[in-house]
Every structure is written in C-alpha cells, then in structure tokens.
C-alpha cells in the first residue's frame, strides 16, 4: 500500500469537511441571513435607549456594531461546536482508519475558518450598507478575528461538553455577556474585562470604524488567537479517539 503523506490526508480531509458544510443549504442560508437580522435587530433595539454621555456614537449605530460582532462570534462558535460533535463517531472511525487526531483537528479548523470568513464578510456587507465605516479591510479582519476566537471556543466546548443543547446554551450566554461587557456600552472599571475573548477584537473593530487603528489591540488579538489555537488543539487531541489502529 502506498504511503500517503500527511499533506494529502489533510487536503482530502479539508475538502470533504468543506464540501459537507456547503451541502447543507439551510446551514449556509442561516450563515448568510442571520448577520443581517442580528445587526438590524440590535440597531433597532438600541433606538429605545437614550443617548448616554459616555457613548461616542448614537445608540442605533452602536447597536449595529455590537450586533455585527455578536453575529460573527456566535455563528462561528456554533459552527465550531457542531464541527466537533456532529460526526463524532464517524470521526472516530476515520481516526481508527489512519487519520491522526491532529490531522482531523486541522480539517475541522479549516471549516471553522471558512465559516468565519463567510459570517465576517456578510456582517461587513451589512455594516457598509447601514454604517459609515472608515477602514473596511480592518473591520473585516476584526470581525474575522472575533469569529475565529469563538469558532475555536466552540470547538473547545464541543470537545469537553459534546452535547448540542448544552453546548449551544453555553455559547449563547458566553458570547452575549462577552459582547455586552467588551463593547464599552457600559463603563466597567476592571481589568478583568480585558481578558474577555472579544475585548481586543472589539477595540480593533471600533477603531477601524472610526478610522484610527488600534495596533496594540490587533497584536494582542493575534497572540490571543495563537494561544487559544494551541489550547484548543491540545484539548481536542487529548479527549478524542485512539487514532490509527486499523491501518496496520
């Protein structure tokens, strides 16, 4: 039997995972439609609030911006969760046949990245339609970063709590609280907030909308993603399957 290389296994695995993802039309439709609903819904909801002195923009725009971050993070988080739990037994068989856990992780990560790019692009498109955005490229990168952070956290939740309902509930409350507290909508005098997953992406996002790029926050965001990637990869590899015993 030919010795197929790791690159081939990853290439075939990523192709299969992305195809499987795109072949669920409702799933893709949700990814395309929900950002619009969430962004506009948040904007409309915020019109009921008065203009507080610490707000740097009108409430409706602030609502739309928070909605964009929430949509990107939550949808990607749920995608990450279901990438891990939806085919867990087939994944186990694939590992027994020869895929290493690390290779399988890469294939799942590629799908999460694809989903992150889709929701970030759709969210940006809605924002460009409704809000004046100074640096769209950086806004897109910040939204992608927010989506990727929660995509990874979704995979982490899926690895340690492989249950659809419970995992989804964890993500709903986590993203909601994180988005609200990181947004600056209410001033919280604690450095604890700076540790929240969305805090630094939020700063980059907000600055790019205004036109001033928060370079320091961008660097922290990159480092945060790399650290999170390492943690999630280690946990995933640790808790899933036995790997490669059928192939001989």
């Amino acid at each position: 039997m030919t010795d197929v290389g790791r690159a081939d296994r990853i290439s075939v695995g990523v192709g299969a995972a992305v195809r499987a993802f795109l072949r669920e039309p409702i799933q893709v439709a949700v990814l395309l439609a929900l950002p619009l609903v969430v962004i506009e819904g948040y904007g409309y909801a915020m019109t009921a609030f008065p203009e507080f002195p610490f707000m740097e923009m009108n409430a409706e725009t602030m609502g739309r911006l928070n909605g964009a971050i929430y949509a990107a993070a939550f949808l990607s988080g749920v995608m990450g969760l279901f990438q891990v739990i939806s085919a867990v037994q087939a994944d186990e068989r694939l590992q027994l046949c020869g895929y290493s856990r690390a290779e399988l992780f890469v294939t799942r990560l590629a799908t999460v990245l694809a989903a992150s790019l889709i929701v970030a692009a759709v969210s940006l498109a809605v924002l460009l339609w409704r809000v004046d955005v100074a640096v769209p490229t950086v806004v897109f990168l910040a939204l992608t970063a927010a989506a990727l952070v929660y995509g990874l956290l979704g995979m982490l939740v899926g690895a340690v709590l492989p249950r659809a309902l419970e995992g989804s509930l964890v993500l709903v409350f986590l993203v909601d609280a994180d988005d609200f507290l990181s947004s600056g909508m209410v001033e919280i005098d604690t450095r604890l907030v700076e540790l929240f997953p969305l805090y630094h992406p939020h700063q980059v996002f907000q600055s790019a909308v205004d036109g001033s790029i928060a370079t320091g926050d961008a660097l922290v965001t990159g480092a945060y993603i790399l650290c999170l990637l390492g943690v999630v990869a280690a946990v995933y590899v640790r808790v899933t399957g036995n790997g490669g015993v059928l192939r001989g």
Partner: protein
C-alpha cells in the same frame, strides 16, 4: 493492493502460528460518573478468543450481552479495563451502525477512507469499483450517503471495512438490511477472502446458517464459550444464540427486496 503492513497491538507476546487475532482475559465495566443517572454494568469478565488466518468465526449472544462492546475493544475503538488484544496485520471493521459522513457522496466516502488507509487514487478507484460491482451499488456512486436506503448504506459501510484488503475482518451484524442477492454475494465474498487467508469474525444475534462458519462462540455472562458442537435449537424467543430458523429465512435480511 498488497497489505504488507503488520503490527502487534497491546500484545506482550508474539502470536502463535496461524493466529492473527487474540484477545486475552478482556474485562469491561460501564460505570456512571453521575449519581442517579445510570448503574454499573459489568459487560465483559475475562472474555478471550483466538482467530486464525483463513478462519470464519461467528460470535453470538443475547441483546445486551456485550457483543458490540467486545468488537469495539478488538478494533481499538474502546479500551478494556483489563486484558490485552494482539493483532497481526491490518484490521477491517464494519460497525453495526454505518459510521459514515452523511453529506459526502459514496465516491467521496471511498476517497476519504482510502486516503486514511494510505491508499493512492488508483488503489482507491480499484477497490471502489470492485465492491460497487460486487455488492451492486455502481449506480449510487454519486449519491450522498444520507440519500441512500438503509441497505445501500450498509453496503458502503461494509465496503469501507474491506477496501484496504485487511488481514483480519471484524463485522458487527454486517448483513442487516441486505436483500437476498446481496446476502448471497456477501457470503461468496467471505469465502474468497478466507481462501486468501483473511480471518473473519462476524457478530450476529443469530447464526442461522451454521455451516458457513468454522467456529461459533457465544458471549454470555461476560465470557466467550465455544458452542460450535452444540446442537441447533429452535428459536426460544430470547433473541440470540445458535438458532434454527423455522421458516428458513435469515433474520435481518430482506427476502422480499
């Protein structure tokens, strides 16, 4: 597509002669980690079995006897609490429920699992076409797995276990949902494989055609007992064992299809 890769898993001693799979003193207990939601179940208590090259062994037992647990331990999908499994060669595993990716086509399924086994594109295509012809699913190669009937899914499930030409084949209720022609094709295939030296173990609730097996072992009370020489008994309604089917039909096979 020669399978020349050999291995010994969890074994601390070499396998003797023609023995290609040996399980020694396998014990497995399922314990609930949460209170009030489950109970401790001792499934296997020192079960052991040896299978030789070219041999076909039936493993029978009542519902809940632990047959699938034993199979999962033999393939390495599940760890045993005690005991060891030694395997000489590559293993093919056909789980009871098809463990496949619903949204991939049959062709893509072969590509994915073939790549996992280390096969190149030519070997994958050869194996895919061979089993598609043999089991009769050529017309479904571009269908998604979740669009197939249960019987056709089972054919893909079985073919994935066979495609890398394994030395040891472990099949858990492999012909569930097969029509009669596919059932017969399956047994013709097992004959060819055993003639080539492949060892085969088949789990079933019933062994209704005992002449097809070299040996039959029964899993009961956590241990395996050789019942090859036991006289066939009429089905007693308990849903297991070496049973003589009164109407000549084979449980799990769709005679009408």
């Amino acid at each position: 597509m020669p399978n020349i890769e050999k291995r010994l898993r969890n074994g601390d001693s070499e396998l003797d002669g023609e023995v290609v799979l040996r399980a020694d003193e396998i014990s497995k207990t399922y314990e609930s980690v949460l209170p009030f939601v489950g109970r401790t179940v001792e499934v296997l208590e020192g079960a052991g079995v040896e299978i030789e090259a070219g041999e076909i062994v039936g493993i029978v037992g009542e519902n809940g006897a632990g047959k699938s647990t034993l199979m999962q331990i033999l393939v390495g999908a599940l760890g045993a609490d005690e005991g060891a499994v030694a395997v000489d060669g590559a293993v093919g595993w056909c789980p009871q429920e098809p463990l496949l990716y619903d949204r991939l086509t049959v062709r893509e399924t072969f590509r994915l699992f073939g790549t996992a086994y280390g096969m190149d594109d030519g070997e994958i295509a050869e194996a895919r076409d061979h089993y598609a012809d043999l089991l009769g699913f050529e017309q479904f190669l571009d269908y998604r797995v979740d669009h197939l009937s249960g019987g056709n899914r089972q054919k893909i499930n079985l073919s994935v276990a066979l495609m890398h030409d394994p030395d040891v084949l472990l099949l858990d209720e492999p012909y569930t949902g097969f029509d009669w022609e596919t059932y017969l094709a399956f047994w013709n295939l097992t004959e060819e494989l055993t003639e080539q030296g492949t060892a085969i173990a088949i789990i079933s609730h019933f062994v209704s055609e005992r002449e097809r097996f070299d040996r039959i072992v029964e899993l009961a009370d956590g241990v395996l007992t050789d019942v090859t020489d036991r006289e066939p008994e009429a089905s007693n309604g308990r849903g297991s064992g070496v049973a003589a089917s009164e109407d000549g039909s084979t449980p799990g096979v769709n005679a009408g299809d």
